[in-house]
Symmetry: D2
């Protein structure tokens, strides 16, 4: 970290700035030019409270040279993290991990049928929403606890580990008990209380979706919240960001996959279904995600998309999903992966 002092700083202000840096556990190197005085941190600056420093009266600007996250940082963990989802599924290794299933759990017949279909096509885990974040209080909110039961039945029938979204801290114990991978939705990416509790009270992998307008650094800082609490099993999920474009529901930021893989050791999956909001776009965007180096995909599949209670327009049929898996198998070797 480099701190630039204001032109007419006082000796007291200089001491304040130095103290604030030292409080973060670093040594301070002072460089006085004829016009600009610069303070350089020697040591790991992640412990420095940058916001506090920026508002000191003698400080002009603060510039990080190193990232504010430690546990999620590839610099301190050069090897890729490989996370075990259960049921033999790994994410972060050579084999591409494909998580598939419907937006919402609707019935035992529906979720079990989809689970069997996607397992046969090569999916390694089943997704399905029991608690649904909806913009309107008058929209279908999911089957809630009953949905969790149905997911477990689908797991018993297929052996696939289940991935489902948590909506608040009161469900942490329940999810720890009956879910294999706990998803944090885009709108909760900075629900810091939830992140803290997931870090301290769970041992299950957390699939952390990127917020609608979050920067990559904010996203990694949210991962850091979970990891600082004690749970190192974080899977990042790029699901599209909000832009001015309305053709797609969101804009899939595939360069984020490359960025995150360079900055962090955590695995990254891509959700082309929610990003695009149109089933016909999923195949090509999934192929592109593999080409960028994503560790996995999360794809919506429904046995009857046109009667889905939620997001049918972006769901593939099981047959379409089988085709997509075939296409992914063709692309994967181009980047040293297998399906």
């Amino acid at each position: 970290m480099v701190v630039i002092m204001k032109p007419n700083f006082t000796p007291e202000q200089l001491q304040e700035a130095i103290q604030a840096m030292k409080a973060g556990g670093v040594q301070v190197n002072i460089s006085k030019g004829s016009e600009t005085t610069v303070l350089g941190a020697e040591g790991n600056a992640a412990g420095i409270d940058q916001e506090l420093l920026e508002q000191l009266p003698g400080v002009e600007k603060v510039m990080r040279v190193t990232e504010p996250y430690k546990k999620a940082n590839r610099k301190f963990h050069p090897d890729d993290s490989v996370i075990d989802l259960g049921g033999g599924a790994l994410i972060g290794g050579k084999k591409l991990a494909v998580i598939a299933g419907p937006c919402s759990v609707e019935s035992e017949a529906q979720i079990t049928a989809v689970a069997q279909a996607v397992r046969e096509s090569g999916a390694c885990a089943l997704r399905g929403g029991a608690f649904k974040p909806r913009t309107s209080p008058y929209s279908f909110q999911g089957l809630e606890c009953e949905g969790l039961n149905l997911l477990q039945k689908a797991k018993e029938a297929t052996g696939l580990p289940i991935v489902t979204e948590i909506m608040g801290t009161e469900y942490v114990e329940l999810f720890e008990e009956c879910v294999d991978v706990i998803q944090v939705g885009a709108r909760n990416m900075q629900n810091f209380d939830l992140l803290k509790k997931l870090g301290k009270r769970t041992t299950k992998p957390i699939l952390l979706k990127r917020g609608l307008s979050a920067t990559i650094e904010e996203w990694l800082m949210s991962a850091e919240y979970i990891m600082a609490g004690g749970n190192q099993k974080v899977i990042l999920c790029e699901r599209g960001i909000r832009t001015f474009e309305t053709f797609t529901r969101n804009t899939l930021d595939l360069s984020a996959v490359l960025a995150v893989k360079s900055l962090s050791h955590l695995p990254v999956v891509v959700d082309p279904s929610h990003a695009c909001g149109k089933a016909w776009m999923v195949e090509r965007m999934a192929m592109a995600a593999v080409a960028t180096g994503a560790d996995g995909l999360i794809i919506e599949v429904h046995n009857d998309p046109k009667n889905a209670l939620c997001d049918g327009a972006q769901s593939l049929t099981p047959d379409q999903f089988t085709d997509v898996m075939g296409k992914l198998a063709a692309v994967a070797p181009c980047v040293g992966r297998e399906v």
Copy 2:
């Protein structure tokens, strides 16, 4: 609501669309042109699940004519809502409501001194953070429950009702008991579980900050979540949106005040401190907010900004706050208000 069918829809698809509309409690008027068939809802369309309708296979486009919120909608509640904050403070009436205080509660001496100072200058309520949403897990997280105690002491000393942020559902009962106005932060604007519980389990006014990239409709839908649960006392707070501009922390959207006042009966306050992030900008942006018709302001005041633990750069001193109150008193009559 108007639904436009795809060019080659089948009779079954038409029936599906009509059914989905009727399920929302409206009658359907069918207009068949030579090229386009349009379905019009007759009655209140707020109960229709628009997302479901949009993904029906025969549907081309869905266009709302009326808004998806009811309880927050001015059409059904033409008069301005006036909300009682306690301690004689009202928001939404002729008198401008100014809420002031530090970003974070730091000590009894600090919060009490600020409370007394801002009361003397005309503030009607005290703000102060006990639980702080911070991007980094390594930043100061607030005094938490001890902070609530200190806020209560400041209330006892001054009579000012207290406004403070809630971070999760597990604190709802505590806040209902010891806080006068419960603030929901920008990052929790779509924490739907929290909104639901605040609606069902609290009687205190909720100050709902706009999300960093939220549209006005999404913001009003979050208010609707609280109101649908039973608590009608929602105060909206414009606090700046994320844009490409970096000179200010966020970009204060003052036209949102006018928009919200036309769409909803709920009172709106403006937070120029967080939006701008620079103390010297607060006075003028506060005056501009009053000119647009805001019902109140929420302003950061600290007795020692340069040593504040959080957001000192955007805090006014008590003397500066007194000056701002004088300026607001000058602008208020231009829009039929008083301070």
Copy 3:
């Protein structure tokens, strides 16, 4: 400017970086810490090619301490610039400058009637589009040269200087001859060829609209292009930026007025009509603009808004405009201005 070197830079890379800084006309102060080596520019860094420096192989980061613009920079021109529009109208002084008129020039009767009406209500200049930037090639493109003739007739009839938009370099000579203030539209803010030619070939004030997604620094750099060419008479115009909100046509960024007034000596006007796109919002947003310290306003007025060929929905009638002028006269003294 401060340059941070990469951890393992070579002596050659250090020399390259120093050379690139010196080529911009500064001395270089080298600070070698045990971990970070920092180069500080001593002198005016505006001449340094920052992009070039950022891509040198040994350079980690470049951080400007001073702004990249000189002629537009308040640091080197502390006093407010006051620009003469002709006809006795000044902009940048104590008196608020209000420019008014229709979106498009439509006929002699229309433009003359509007000009007379707005002059009587206190406008100091007449706006009207002769060449119109339209998203679609099939939309009305303006009366073009005939429109310029009609504007001149309105000027003869009223004495008001005329403000109108230029669309390309081939019109520069024509505009220099027959227009009083040359407007550069938002979509041409980075049409660098046009900016250069306006700088070198005109003596008339240039009203430079902010681009739809431009940062303040980019906007000031576009002003710098004109000023570097020789024409110092640049008036900045905030006209709303593109955000995710759709209630308004754009989002008026009033904090930009404060930002620009602190960074630059150039006058700033605000266009609430184009920003909001709704006539009923203009009065309050214009009042708010005055409260922030804008030097003037540009307001759409049409004698028959509902039959306007362009942007009728955001045009005031002459009577409404008279009311707005009265409101502005009430707010202006609050910020030391007069109307």
Copy 4:
């Protein structure tokens, strides 16, 4: 197009709306419900002036069912357009078209060496900037006309057609004469005067870059401007959009490739170099672009990136470019293409 009338419209207002629709060349179907009256256009609505219609006093909302562009619309031109760049290079067919070269033309030796290298690796055209759009008037502006001469020498030496950017209308005749593909930069995407003149006065293909914050519809409308003028040879170029992310220079929107290919018959190329701003990201993003179905790529290659006068950080060396071509050859068959 569907027009929804306001609740209390008058008969005159209804007639106004109908007239405005008929003026665009359509028949109007009127549907009066008990609450909502809807007007449906029968026929091609592209000729209707939507903005005019939206501001009629009796009109509540206007909703396009068909797109506002005709010549660029796939509905009216179902087959892919294949555009001849000269020198045997086609774009839009089965063979992937790769355009490569340096950001700026710097010297005869440089541009000829790069041209020979990229031709050997399989590039079908040479890119190089002679006129450079730079944010700062103090940055290198390109070799200008001398740059065009050097590009022609490189063409003579290699046979590769040349692609270079035009900055204003005064160069249209010159470019028509000595350039093979005329590039319109992102900042000029809505320089309508330039688009009109390119449409009317050139026969060469136009490579139209997407604006920094442009929607896909706005981009296609800019293509429509060129095509409406008479030049049908438009190549669209996705080069990243502005988002809140700063890791990359811009955010490459690969779903735009799919969107444009479905909406339009025009070919689309992707520029991963400018979008990412980092050479190490180019290979993977180029592979991903091919996976989405892009018709070609435009890639920056420099024989000495660390001494490039412009954008060296994002330039590949010739050897790296050869490697990338190999990777593209592996991905191309997955989507039915060849390199």
